[in-house]
Symmetry: C2
Subunit: 145 residues, 2 copies
DNA sequence: TTCTAATTGAAAATGATTATCATTTACATT
DNA sequence: AATGTAAATGATAATCATTTTCAATTAGAA
């Protein structure tokens, strides 16, 4: 029952859950749940391939449903300043083409069975970019008197 | 001086260093070094863009030189069972093409300044694959008497 | 029901990373 | 050279996500 409750919660709200976040959500419907079980179940679902695990650089793991009816193939923009995450699926066709080719070549050359892949683009989001410009400007101009 | 020692160590041996590993290496040439300084310097080099930071799924951060004279653009195969890492640069031209296109589209659409990207292929390495087959076989066959 | 193995929750342990703080260093100005 | 000041450093403690332990509960098979 705990496992079902966790998977259900993951299905409903589909953003990039941390373990603790998921724990709190599940806790409402299933107050007996323990944090350790959430950790264990997430690892389980990960190995089954039902969910993906990510590290977006804020010291904890995040999860989302694997590609399926509710989720389509996409990758992530990660703001290295504020941690904002943007899902994108632009150029998926192109990306899929190259990836398939790559998986072919790699699996043969290295005898490696590829289960999934993830691509991260790191940089600065709109907001952090403008914040930076602001501080640059004030730095160049000096403190106003 | 500590910083130089750290960068030098990174240049010489070009594996995927963890902080602690790097600390030990530097410690030989520069015994006064503190672990905290290694952490601080690695973050610094990361922000400058001289090195890249990775999470390969073994609970610690790993680093390598950014693309330059000593390092060429590549991505990683990660064995989710034993943690083995394989660098690959097959199909770089293709990959670079799509990536450039993608960076164009994304930076415009989301007003996002892209600094770098990383692609991980997750799966099973040759060894873990054969180990798995072995255990499957014995599981199907049952324990020999 | 009875037995056994898997699952679970609570709590403790682990371990990478970060924060603190007193000391040292680098370096510009006298 | 002496002085002043801010940055860098090393040692240590604190943090905090994750893992481990372990006793209790549950789920099925017999
Ligand atoms: Mn996503
Ligand atoms: Mn590499
Ligand atoms: Zn941002
Ligand atoms: Zn392996």
């Amino acid at each position: 029952m705990p496992r079902q409750a966790i998977l259900e919660a993951l299905r409903k709200a589909n953003k990039h859950f941390s373990t603790e976040e998921l724990y709190h959500v599940v806790h409402k419907k299933y107050p007996a749940i323990g944090l350790a079980t959430v950790y264990r179940t997430l690892e389980l679902l990960c190995q089954i391939g039902l969910i993906f695990k990510f590290d977006f650089g804020d010291g904890l793991s995040r999860y989302e449903l694997a590609v399926g009816p509710d989720q389509n193939h996409h990758h992530h923009l990660i703001c290295t300043t504020c941690g904002r995450i943007i899902d994108f699926s632009e150029l998926v066709e192109e990306e899929t083409r190259v990836t398939r080719e790559l998986e072919n070549v790699l699996s043969k050359k290295y005898n490696f069975k590829i289960d999934s892949h993830q691509t991260h683009f790191l940089g600065l989001c709109e907001k952090c970019l403008s914040d930076l410009k602001g501080s640059d400007l004030s730095a160049a101009t000096g403190t106003l008197k």
